[in-house]
């Protein structure tokens, strides 16, 4: 959920791109009481602006509800706003820097996450350029979670396909975020958010 698809090369011909996404997400937390699993659908949307041929800026908003059946656990809402900057190094490699603010809300608590991630994205076209395979990994060097210390391990990864046709890009992506927090006594907290996202990008033309 934390990583969104970026517009493909064909759409990069257009300066402004809007997108909508639907994710099926699974949130797993181990905080010493067994694994607490919650999952649900997350809707998202946003836009990106291409500056020249190498730089692209993006804004993303998404939100949804994660339900759980674990004993003692409560359902929660998740909402996120993110900014991304992509710099294309070579036609098939892009470096990305992203900053996100995520909030988990339940009837009993509200937890805010602030994250900055950095990492490369590799994009290889095949099927005569109509399809691209996208794979990216990123470190999250800046993580601030309310009520929790800074995690020792914070990484994200994602991979998937993008199909382009006539200014539209349909993408499917599997993504995973993992955060291992330092042990508090004998208990080490681990959180993981995995998602499968379906995203549609629409080129809006030049600005």
């Amino acid at each position: 959920m934390g990583i969104a698809l970026s517009p493909g090369q064909a759409l990069a011909q257009r300066a402004v791109t809007a997108f909508a996404s639907l994710s099926v997400a699974e949130h797993r937390v181990e905080a010493g009481y067994g694994v607490e699993r919650a999952w649900g659908a997350i809707l998202g949307g946003g836009a990106s602006l291409r500056l020249g041929t190498r730089v692209e800026l993006g804004l993303r908003v998404q939100g949804g509800r994660l339900n759980t059946s674990a004993p003692g656990a409560v359902d929660r809402d998740v909402g996120e706003v993110g900014l991304e900057a992509d710099v294309r190094v070579v036609p098939w490699v892009t470096f990305r820097v992203g900053a996100r603010r995520r909030t988990y809300s339940s009837v009993i608590a509200r937890q805010g996450w602030t994250m900055v991630d950095v990492g490369p994205e590799v994009r290889l076209a095949f099927a005569r350029g109509t399809i691209s395979g996208v794979t990216r990994v990123a470190l999250v060097p800046v993580v601030s979670v309310s009520g929790l210390p800074r995690p020792d391990v914070a990484v994200t990864g994602a991979t998937g396909l993008q199909f382009r046709r006539r200014g539209l890009t349909l993408g499917t992506l599997y993504s995973l975020e993992r955060y291992d927090f330092p042990a508090d006594g004998a208990i080490a907290r681990v959180e993981q958010l995995a998602a499968v996202t379906l995203r549609l990008d629409v080129g809006l033309g030049r600005r």
Binding site: E30, V35, R37, L124, F126, A127, A194, V196
Partner: protein, 349 residues
């Protein structure tokens, strides 16, 4: 006075160039003055000196022909018709273009001169003068003459070829101008080079034949032609077929995405949490494998790249169009070729 005019008319074109020529010219002038005063007895020795092999000074062809014509005219005046005819023939043999002006010479002299022409058969052609001929609108004219009626053929050919174009074939009596349009027998414009104009004739009165040849040089004056565009090479064109490795590459890329999905869900995910939406990663991996396989099969079955084929066809058409335009402009320039004609001495420099 009539004879003085004659003399001036005959000698007016003779411009003294050398001292020797001046001596000959002086003697010719004296002879003409005697002839003018009808003092034929004093004119004849002077004229005979000029045509004598012992005359020490240079005598131009024109002066010699004039001397013979005066000798003939003088002898005609004193009634020596045979001798007059003999000298008139000598004049005609040396210059078949030689003639007597009917307004100046007496009918008896003209009659004897005509008799001399009938007794002598010769053909001649004047050397060409330097000229600039546009074959579309102009002609190169050759001046040809026969001393009396004869069958004549006038043929022109490049000295490097035996293929001649016939400019005239028929009976001719006297001077004739023959025009040439600059084309050879194959109806193509005469290429640059040296050319020969040969006049052959046989008398219809005598059992005699004669020929004359002149040479001239032709050069082309033409605006510089443009080069056509070179053939398109493989570097100029897009590949129209996928390589065999492209299909394999597509399959590998699909497998690569699938592998990445499985790695993320297995390696990047925390084992402690016991799961990572594996169904989702399997779905993405399966989609990637299927896509790679379909792309692989499609590349193998239909290796043509239609977009590139169309783009290459457009480039070829553009090049063909540009070359057609260049050829058209070159054809227009070639059609406007001008022939530069200069006289030449022989078959070669």
């Amino acid at each position: 006075m009539k004879h003085l005019v004659l003399l001036l008319g005959l000698t007016g074109s003779m411009v003294p160039r050398l001292g020797a020529q001046g001596s000959t010219q002086d003697l010719l002038q004296q002879a003409s003055e005697f002839y003018e005063r009808l003092d034929v007895e004093r004119a004849l020795p002077l004229l005979r000196q000029i045509v004598s092999p012992n005359w020490p000074f240079e005598v131009t062809s024109g002066q010699r022909v004039d001397a013979y014509k005066y000798l003939g005219a003088c002898l005609a005046l004193v009634g020596k018709r045979d001798s007059a005819t003999l000298y008139f023939r000598a004049a005609v043999e040396r210059d078949p273009f030689a003639d007597l002006d009917p307004a100046i010479f007496t009918p008896a002299q003209l009659r004897l001169f005509g008799e001399a022409r009938r007794l002598t058969f010769a053909v001649a052609v004047r050397p060409v003068a330097p000229a600039r001929i546009d074959p579309r609108t102009q002609r190169l004219t050759f001046a040809v003459v026969t001393t009396h009626a004869g069958s004549v053929e006038i043929a022109l050919r490049p000295v490097s070829s035996d293929s001649a174009v016939s400019l005239f074939r028929g009976v001719n009596d006297g001077p004739r101008d023959v025009a040439w349009d600059g084309l050879l027998a194959d109806r193509h414009l005469a290429p640059p080079g040296r050319y020969e104009l040969r006049v052959t004739g046989s008398s219809q009165l005598l059992r005699r034949a004669d020929s004359a040849v002149i040479y001239f040089e032709i050069r082309h004056e033409i605006a510089p032609l443009e080069d056509t565009l070179p053939e398109l090479t493989a570097r100029d064109l897009l590949p129209e077929q996928l390589s065999k490795s492209a299909a394999t590459r597509d399959l590998l890329r699909g497998l690569g995405v699938a592998g990445a999905a499985l790695l993320i869900s297995d390696v990047l995910a925390s084992r402690q949490l016991g799961g990572s939406l594996k169904l989702g990663s399997a779905a993405v991996a399966g989609t990637a494998v299927a896509t790679g396989a379909v792309a692989f099969a499609g590349d193998r079955r239909h290796p043509a790249i239609p977009g590139n084929i169309v783009a290459n066809a457009r480039r070829r058409a553009e090049r063909a169009g540009q070359n057609a335009a260049i050829r058209g402009r070159n054809a227009a320039k070639t059609a406007a070729t001008v022939l530069l004609v200069t006289p030449a001495a022989g078959v070669g420099p």
